[in-house]
């Protein structure tokens, strides 16, 4: 009898699911990349950023522009924010070379661009014009003593790189020695040659294509997409392996038929074609249905509004489906084709066929379970590693800790917070502890770097336990109170400053006074929020602080949201016509990240769960087939007195022989893979071996179910039936 080898439909389903998931993952990825491409195309893909630590002068600019491969060059200097006394706005100036607008493709709303002779003229960003002049066309007027020659057209918000120019004022760079931090380069010919030419002329620069600059803004999304694509590729490989496994079983199942066909003249390629066709059919049909399913899910998602960007993954999926189908069919088909016809003819009964062994099938079932359980452990590592990472970002704070500061960049002049505001803050109901801090940029003596930001903290700081002090200790209340010369350093800064040496106990010279380093804090995220590399007692530089901010600890009964609004309103009252203060909740940011992690992990866990299900199907297929081949033997054993329970045990043992080693292999593979994955995600490396038991439990469960179920069905056959069926 020709049986559809157990589980053909299950395997087809596996291919369908794997393709659908791959289709979705690639589609989402392709959608994002297309969006980045469209951003890049707006500005032109032939734009490169060339950056040097020591900056560039006008001579460098000319030298670069004269290279054959370079079409045009513009320079971008540093920006500086000017507080204009008596005005409600702030002006941030950016020094640029005359060609800047042309090279950066910035259209003007009115007026003209720079010429090389321009001095004391400005071009306004759109928002600057709106804030300062409203609806009046300002071209020809003066701003801060400089003539306005043009206004940039508004830059859309999705243009992450250029949109800041809306808030800025462009001024022509003068003729100093080093003017520009960054050069914008339009290349003429091939990117590779242009790069080589630039590197040749300026060996110490870094060159970044504009596409890479835009990609960085989508780094998190891209990383998540890569994870999704990688795991769905894993799923697809599993599905391919299952097809190969099914075909191997099918070859054994039909070995005698192969013998008959060979006897009447079928060539080896004829036989091979038989199985390749079956494999391609399974993968092809599964691939087409799966792609359709994936596309349908796209539509559903876009209807629900959760995924606005959809790419077109068929260019990748269809060839992949074909290749995987081919690869999955080749080995089994080759096995079938090279079978000796006389031998194949001798495999007339199921029992005879059980002699020929199912080595390949066992290996594939193992492979599938190993990949799936490895994926499970990788997921556990990802979650555990991320938890550890998030836990390391801040000290033991919760959402009751707020940070109140002037917005760092705004067209509206920021409120100039001062120590006196401390008292006012304390009067707000719900505020428990307030610590003031001042910050300013200082060149640290003895290191060759631009000025860094130092923050002075006053009493109350130590009680907040805001930072995660990784090494040494935090500043104590006593040191803060007395203004002792001690310092707490950001880890990245300490690394720059002291290299591999232990920074604790070293001294640091600030404003010619020595400070002793007592601790190092993790600044992977706090750097971004806190914006300071060195923390010292406030008293040390009293009177020298440039700007102030406050750490607020709210009472348990207070509602943080209400308090935030109250704080913003308070400062609007004290400083009318200024930008609103920023109230940041560090812990809320961690919570947001955690939410993102949970979303990502749950999506990946669906994939891993599917992978494990596929593994179970693979084992189920294999054990069913093994038992089918051994039906007669089992019947004879029953006649000889074996209980049903013994038969079930036999099936479970067969399955465990596959799943348990596979679990260990998967564990080994994923432990090897954890390091690269965590590096890829920029996480500290950690392997949560204490969770390894989950893998073992999972593979044992798979073994018990996938082996016990078919064995139970076999055990229900009457011994007489079993013997007859085995003789088929």
């Amino acid at each position: 009898m020709k049986r559809a080898p157990a589980g053909r439909w299950l395997v087809l389903t596996a291919v369908v699911l794997a393709t659908a998931v791959l289709w979705l993952a690639l589609g989402i990825r392709e959608g994002l990349e297309a969006e980045i491409r469209s951003l890049v195309n707006r500005i032109g893909a032939n734009l490169f950023y060339v950056h040097a630590n020591e900056g560039f002068g006008n001579g460098d600019l000319t030298r670069l522009a004269n290279l054959a491969e370079i079409a045009a060059v513009a320079g971008e200097g540093g920006y500086s924010t000017a507080y204009i006394p008596g005005q409600t706005y702030n002006l941030t100036y950016l020094k640029v070379s005359p060609d800047y607008l042309k090279v950066f493709q910035l259209p003007l709303a009115s007026g003209r661009s720079f010429t090389p002779d321009d001095e004391d003229v400005v071009i306004l960003g759109w928002k600057v014009k709106e804030v300062v002049f409203g609806n009046i066309n300002p071209v020809g007027r003066l701003l801060d003593g400089k003539e306005i020659i043009g206004v940039l057209a508004p830059i859309p918000d999705d243009d992450e790189i250029r949109r800041r120019l809306n808030d800025w004022v462009l001024v022509p760079a003068g003729s100093d020695e080093k003017l520009y931090w960054t050069l914008l380069v339009r290349i003429g010919g091939a990117a590779k040659h242009a790069r080589q030419a630039i590197m040749h002329a300026f060996p110490r620069v870094t060159i970044t294509p504009i596409s890479k600059r835009y990609s960085m803004y989508f780094a998190t999304e891209r990383t998540l997409n890569s994870l999704l694509v990688m795991s769905s590729l894993g799923m697809f490989i599993i599905a391919g392996a299952m097809v190969a496994g099914l075909l191997l079983l099918s070859v054994i199942d039909r070995s005698w038929e192969i013998g008959v066909r060979r006897t009447v003249g079928a060539t080896a390629p004829d036989i091979m074609r038989l199985f390749v066709a079956e494999g391609l059919f399974l993968v092809g049909a599964g691939g087409i249905i799966g792609s359709g399913l994936g596309q349908a899910m796209f539509f559903l998602f876009s209807r629900l509004g959760s995924s606005p960007r959809l790419g077109e993954p068929h260019a990748v999926v269809f060839p992949l489906v074909f290749i995987v189908g081919l690869i999955a069919s080749v080995y089994p088909s080759w096995q079938a084709a090279r079978m000796n016809p006389a031998y194949a003819l001798s495999l007339r009964t199921l029992e005879a066929r059980s002699r020929s062994g199912i080595g390949g099938g066992r290996f594939i079932a193992m492979f599938v379970v190993a990949i799936a359980s490895g994926g499970l452990f990788l997921l556990i590592s990802l979650v555990a590693g991320s938890q550890q990472f998030l836990g390391s970002l801040w000290g033991p704070i919760d959402e009751r800790t707020l940070l109140v500061q002037s917005p760092r960049q705004s067209i509206l002049a920021p409120p100039e917070l001062s120590v006196n505001d401390l008292r006012l803050l304390r009067t707000l109901p719900g505020v428990e502890v307030v610590a003031v801090c001042g910050s300013r940029s200082i060149r640290i003596n003895g290191i060759n770097s631009p000025a860094i930001t130092v923050k002075g903290v006053a009493n109350g700081w130590a009680n907040l336990k805001l930072l995660n002090v990784e090494q040494g200790r935090d500043l104590s209340e006593q040191e803060i109170g007395k203004g002792k010369p001690v310092a707490l350093l950001a880890a990245s800064f300490a690394q720059n400053m002291f290299g591999g040496q232990n920074p604790i106990g070293q001294t640091l010279s600030i404003k010619d006074a020595p400070y002793k380093v007592v601790g190092v804090f993790n600044d992977r995220m706090s750097m971004w929020v806190l914006g300071a590399q060195v923390i010292i007692p406030y008293k040390c530089l009293e009177g020298l602080w440039f700007s102030h901010s406050f750490f607020v600890h709210t009472a348990p009964e207070a509602q943080p949201d209400k308090l935030r609004t109250a704080i913003v309103d308070l400062f609007q009252d004290i400083y009318p016509n200024t930008a609103k203060v920023e109230v940041i909740t560090p812990a809320a940011q961690v919570t947001e990240w955690r939410r993102f992690l949970v979303a990502a992990a749950s999506r990946l866990s669906i994939l891993v769960g599917l992978g494990l299900l596929l593994g179970a199907i693979g084992v189920f297929n294999l054990v069913s087939f093994l038992l089918l081949l051994r039906t007669r033997e089992l019947g004879i054993r029953r006649v000889a007195g074996a209980t049903k329970y013994r038969i079930v045990t036999l099936g479970v043992m067969e399955a465990l022989k596959i799943t348990v080693p596979a679990g260990f292999i998967g564990l080994g593979l994923s432990i090897a893979g954890t390091g690269p994955m965590q590096r890829f995600l920029n996480q500290p490396s950690s392997i949560p071996l204490e969770w390894a038991w989950i893998i073992i439990v999972a593979v044992i469960c798979i073994g018990v179910v996938a082996g016990g179920w078919p064995a139970w069905r076999t055990s229900q056959l009457s011994p007489a039936k079993a013997i007859r069926r085995g003789n088929q």
Partner: protein, 223 residues
């Protein structure tokens, strides 16, 4: 037409070597009706498998239809099997999920005939063995004798030069056996060369030439 020189066949099973044929020399000319007799395990099936190109000898020379078989590619061997040699087995070896006519037509498929021609020739072959009323039956719906006749039809449908039969009557009663052997004798008269392996003395009585095999060597032969 068939020439065997110093044919050895040894089955290797792990450490164990089972010599099935140990130096067989044999010449079969066109239109012979050769019966191979011998006790169980003497190597009859092995010899037929080698002649039918289902297996390869460990050592020795085998010429079939004037060609040295060792030099043939798999494709050429398959072509010879499919177009010149018909097989009949003790266990019929019909494909269970194919109807009678489809079973008969399988060799024609590999010979590259279209479906219509395959059907016509398969029906003709089935009619010849007296099964014109069983064309659409599955093997499970046929008696043992009918199944064997389908198997014969499959061997004949290609108009073979050579028919190899291994215990063709092993599962048949004496009446079916007789009609089958009569069919074989008629074939032989039409010019087909026949080699039949058996231990049934009744079958042996149809032989033009008889060969006795024992422990892998030919121990007796008569014309």
């Amino acid at each position: 037409m068939i020439e065997l020189q110093g044919i050895y066949k040894t089955y290797i099973k792990g450490q164990l070597k089972v010599p099935a044929l140990r130096g067989v020399d044999l010449n079969v000319t066109k239109q012979e009706f050769l019966i191979i007799q011998g006790p169980s395990g003497s190597g009859k099936s092995t010899l037929l498998n080698l002649i039918g190109l289902l297996d390869e000898p460990t050592r020795g020379e085998l010429h079939l239809f004037g060609e040295s078989v060792q030099e043939l590619s798999d494709r050429e061997r398959s072509r010879l099997r499919g177009r010149s040699i018909g097989f009949v087995f003790q266990s019929y070896n019909l494909i269970a999920h194919l109807k009678a006519w489809e079973n008969v037509a399988v060799p024609l498929y590999y010979a590259g005939l279209n479906r219509k021609d395959r059907y016509q020739r398969a029906v003709a072959a089935l009619t010849r063995v007296g099964l014109s009323k069983r064309i659409r039956h599955l093997p499970a719906e046929l008696s043992g004798g009918e199944e064997q006749r389908v198997a014969i039809a499959r061997a004949l449908v290609i108009n073979p030069k050579l028919v190899l039969a291994d215990e063709p009557t092993g599962n048949l009663d004496s009446k079916s056996s007789r009609s089958m052997m009569e069919e074989f004798a008629r074939l032989n008269r039409e010019g087909v060369t026949l080699i039949v392996a058996t231990h049934d003395p009744f079958v042996a009585s149809f032989a033009k030439r008889l060969l006795v095999l024992q422990d892998g060597v030919i121990v007796a032969a008569n014309q």
